[in-house]
């Protein structure tokens, strides 16, 4: 079981620029995000029937972080707080 944050939904374009999350060409505010990140990820469109999930620990190298398109069918719940 993985606990990840949904940052974009089907058809939206997502990318990372110097650690900033960009969705549909707009920089997103992420108050929950506490540590510096240097992630860069070229733009990509969220696949059909999927959401794009990313964890909050983005101070770790992007290569080691588990994130990406997740099928809606795989979502089993939400955190309670």
């Amino acid at each position: 079981m993985l606990l990840k944050r949904i940052v974009a939904t089907e058809g939206e374009e997502i990318e990372f620029r110097s650690g900033k999350l960009i969705v549909n060409q707009k920089e997103m505010e992420e108050p929950y995000f506490r540590f510096p990140s240097d992630w860069n990820l070229p733009p990509r469109v969220v696949q059909k029937g999927c959401v794009y999930v990313v964890g909050d620990n983005r101070s770790m190298p992007i290569e080691n972080h588990l994130f990406g398109n997740a099928s809606l069918k795989r979502i089993v719940g939400v955190p309670l707080w």
């Binding site: 079981m1 993985l2 990820l41 696949q47 999930v53 994130f67 990406g68 398109n69 997740a70 795989r74």
Partner: protein
């Protein structure tokens, strides 16, 4: 009255056959789970394992697989069909890299809708320590296929599922 008797008997026959097939499926499910328990037990390694135990376990692992068994993973792009001997040999080499290894299967879903075939979706967690001191923790979802032959349920396919696609 006679008709009623036949209706009751027919209902009883249907109920009995449903109960029998449910019981049969339950038994088969237990046998499939047992193969995963064996794989977990024989692949895991405790500190100070002797070379004889290591060889025995590697050989036992080979007995759980059909000839050939397909393996597919996206992590290190790999897709190959291996014989039980080759699997034992890989297991031997793989386990020898570790001082301690623990392999656990959980969240298992077994589909026995096809005759003599079990489709299993399962999560595997491998934790251990390499001989150079590095700690390993890997969790992956697997899709496995087991087929039933004279020797019981044997693994025929292993595929690592890519849960998150970048």
């Amino acid at each position: 009255m006679v008709k009623m008797k036949w209706v009751v008997l027919a209902v009883l026959a249907v109920v009995t056959s449903i109960a029998n097939s449910a019981c049969f499926l339950q038994t088969e499910e237990k046998k499939v789970k047992k193969q995963f328990r064996h794989l977990s037990e024989w692949a895991s390694k405790e500190r100070g394992e002797t070379p004889i135990t290591m060889a025995q376990r590697a050989q036992k692992i080979g007995t759980l697989f059909l000839d050939p068994c397909e393996f597919k993973t996206h992590i290190e792009p790999f897709s190959e069909a291996l014989t039980p001997d080759e699997i034992s040999s890989y297991a031997m080499r793989g386990r020898s890299l570790f001082t301690v290894l623990d392999l656990v299967f959980y969240d298992m879903k077994i589909d026995l809708s096809e005759e003599r075939v079990a489709k299993v979706t399962v999560t595997v967690k491998a934790t251990g320590r390499l001989k150079d001191g590095e700690n390993i923790k890997e969790i992956h979802e697997l899709e496995c296929l087991l087929k039933k032959n004279e020797g019981g349920w044997l693994f025929s396919r292993f595929e690592v599922v890519e849960v998150l696609k970048r």
